[in-house]
Symmetry: C2
Subunit: 476 residues, 2 copies
């Protein structure tokens, strides 16, 4: 089962040092109920021998567990599991297998999954594909930074050298923005959230692609926006329907991905970009262009923000997909006049934002190693894309298109198969899938599924899929 | 002038290493326009001699400046300032001195102030008062953590060992919460923001103290809430008026600070706590108790959340004021049934949250050094409180009460003095003050000012105050 996921995952944090290993061992025994509340812990000598560490290491581990209240010591008698240290019961921390297949299905289950679970449905790379050595080096470098970098609030705009670097980077995609048009945020999602706060009134209508990134729907719901959608084609939104929806529903905002479209992997064509912007002008539409997958591109695809010059288009970016999701850093590039208002909103709702994560991202990006990492990562993803497509085809799963870049394959399942049924069945086998309708406002993607090629090559996944297709065709 | 603040402040980040010093030197010359776009940089040999560093250090600094696009190299000719590298003009990055004295006055100006500026009005300690050595040590420790800790998303609840530690810590204040009643957030403000999203509809009425933390007003405005207020007394809200306001306005929510009240430094009495909760029961009021200054206490004061048992009270905490504001980590302790809904909202609006900052906070808290730091800090603040009160009194500024703990002195200015006028005048001398009415919904604190005792002892501040009082009494 996927259960016990959160617990096991976080154990590994402190497990990287010997003291951490001691702590993790005890916590795991408590979690697994081989050590119950009030039970006596193994003696220091015995655990030291078992784990092959020195007794002083065990002492330090036990003392830290005392400090955090997991265990307590009785002088002269030893260490005991605290009565309050009972971990969350499995049913409390395990994901809700019975939850609805809604826009939160993939996010909650993917975020709650443990190390042993398989998550071809999730929207990010395995940590081992990210530049861990660069992050470690950057952390050591930040540990030597100035007092304000370590302990003070970030400035309202966010770290100036990082904003300058971002301005240069997005210029490579044709998006011209001065550093004072760029405001740092905690992540891409917070960037869109702030823009919704800034631009929307409750009850406003917002246009999204169909299919689109499921969290756009969740976010827009939190803003009490009405959502309408337009089918996405391999070259962008269906432009005829786009015009009709603008005329009929007068949406205030269009939220979309360019470059590498999530979930389809499609690429906006210059022609469609031109027509979208012409219609946006005609109907007074503002566009939020979420570009968080941009660093995966081999060659820059057209950006609405580049065509438009950040007039009615706002560009969003982040480093969660390519550098680290553990450090939180995203940005908004927008009209200068809007940035002031966005900063006031950022202060009101998250007071200034962090500085440490921005310092870390700056250190990684400044190092030169990040570009080399991205080049290797792009090649690795291309190979995985090819390999995953070929294996999925062998199971009767057909990619809707072969993306030019990124990690997603948007696939049609064999006829008559309901992706939500398959996803529910797979969950019982520790596999988190992303069924099509969580991406579809019109609920017309019953037969589709998104695969993350970096997490799909495990043979067990294809096995689960094959078996559930057979079962479905029997019962169907 | 306070101008150029952001720029100078952030220069210091990379200035902590020799390579950083090279980069900072060049950036400062570009910022100060002694190096114009297209200008040739000093030769490697010359700058090495000037700064007393090795030529290879200058080479590395120049290469990093090339990587970030500030300069470019012409093979065989040297390094040149890039045309795009022109820094933000001073007027663009300086704070708006002409801005209204509104709830954003103190936050924007304090966040934008530079190292050389004085900010007795700001709401946090100088970085040198925070446990920088512990943070540095924790960063080195986190640099050795597992891949998921460095690169993966945090779990929806947030790091389990940190939540367990928090459960133990708030238990010391009488707040009983199991770790699954605790959800990590990026900061205290985000915690309140999520609760407003969860509990409020646009147009709902929210009750605050008068005076109260100014950002409550900014945040509630972002939620389109109506705000009503009740005068705060030295032992909590004026309980008679509290009952009247509940009867008349039926507020959905009461947002308050306990333990160390901001800005007054007052402490809630058990009697008032009891009556507030009785009235809350009677009128179906939910209470958000912001407890971010709790770690400053010498002995625990009454908490509404403790009396109430997290039934209709939600408790908020963070580590921004006592550990680091650069790392972002706060939390919500609430009814179990509410946490699920709050997690969905957190995912929708910021996708899971960061893990790295939580790891860092956990490492600092687990170390034992944090408690020693807090003990020293409490003593230091007590001394500063006494000293600041005595010096302010000598200028005719009278503390409203002597707080039991914390960093704030809420003071009455000499008769006839308008605090906003004084704050505007002081800004021209690089001093950021916190005039009373930014804290007052009813705008009845014209004659009051909040002083942060950790940032008030500079003789220049008292000099600016004295001179502006003399000037005001002449023109008044």
């Amino acid at each position: 089962m996927v259960k016990n996921a959160v617990w096991m995952k976080e154990e590994q944090v402190t497990g990287s040092t010997r003291v951490g290993m001691v702590m993790a061992t005890i916590r795991q025994r408590i979690a697994g109920r081989s050590l119950l509340p009030g039970a006596r812990l193994p003696s220091i000598r015995r655990l030291a021998a078992t784990l092959g560490v020195s007794p002083s290491t065990v002492v330090e581990g036990y003392e830290r567990l005392v400090a955090e209240g997991t265990i307590h010591s009785r002088p002269g008698s030893g260490f005991y599991v605290a009565s309050q240290a009972v971990p969350l019961s499995l049913s409390q921390i395990g994901p809700r297998v019975d939850r609805a297949v809604d826009p939160f299905w993939v996010s909650r289950l993917s975020l709650e999954a443990g190390e042993g679970d398989l998550k071809p449905g999730c929207g990010w790379l395995p940590p081992s594909w990210l530049p861990q050595d660069n992050i470690r080096k950057a952390l050591r470098s930040v540990s030597r930074a100035s007092g304000p970098a370590l302990a003070d609030y970030g400035s309202p705009f966010g770290l100036a050298p990082l904003r300058q670097l971002i301005a240069r980077r997005i210029a490579e995609r044709g998006i011209e923005a001065s550093p004072d048009q760029i405001m740092l945020t905690d992540c891409g999602t917070q960037a869109i959230d702030l823009l919704c706060r800034f631009l929307l009134e409750p009850g406003d209508t917002v246009l999204v692609d169909d299919p689109c990134y499921f969290n756009f729907q969740a976010l827009l719901r939190a803003h009490r926006a009405k959502t309408v959608s337009v089918p996405y084609t391999p070259s962008g939104p269906d432009i005829e329907l786009f015009g009709k929806v603008l005329a009929e529903h007068q949406p205030r905002l269009y939220v979309t991905n360019s470059a590498v479209h999530n979930p389809t992997g499609a690429t906006l064509s210059p022609l469609v970009a031109h027509r979208v912007l012409k219609l946006a002008d005609q109907f007074g539409l503002t566009i939020v262009e979420d570009d968080i997958f941009g660093d995966f591109e081999h060659t820059p695809a057209p950006r609405l923000a580049a065509f438009d010059g950040l007039d009615r288009v706002v560009s969003i970016g982040s480093f969660s997909k390519t550098l680290s999701a553990s450090a939180r850093c995203g940005f908004i590039a927008a009209r200068p006049a809007w940035v002031e208002g966005l900063i006031d909103l950022k202060i009101a709702t998250s007071f200034g934002g962090g500085r440490l994560d921005a310092e870390l991202v700056l250190a990684v990006l400044s190092d030169g190693g990040y570009r080399r990492h991205m080049e290797r990562l792009q090649s690795r993803l291309s190979r995985a894309m090819f390999e995953a497509a070929s294996r999925l085809k062998a199971c009767g799963i057909e990619p809707w298109l072969m993306p030019q870049a990124g990690m997603f394959l948007w696939c049609r399942l064999p006829d008559g198969i309901d992706a939500a049924d398959i996803a529910r069945a797979a969950l019982a086998e520790n596999v988190v899938l992303a069924p099509g309708n969580v991406f579809s406002v019109s609920q017309t993607a019953t037969n589709f599924m998104r695969f993350n090629v970096s997490q799909t090559l495990d043979e067990r996944i294809l096995d689960v899929l094959r078996r559930s297709f057979i079962k479905a065709s029997r019962t169907g």
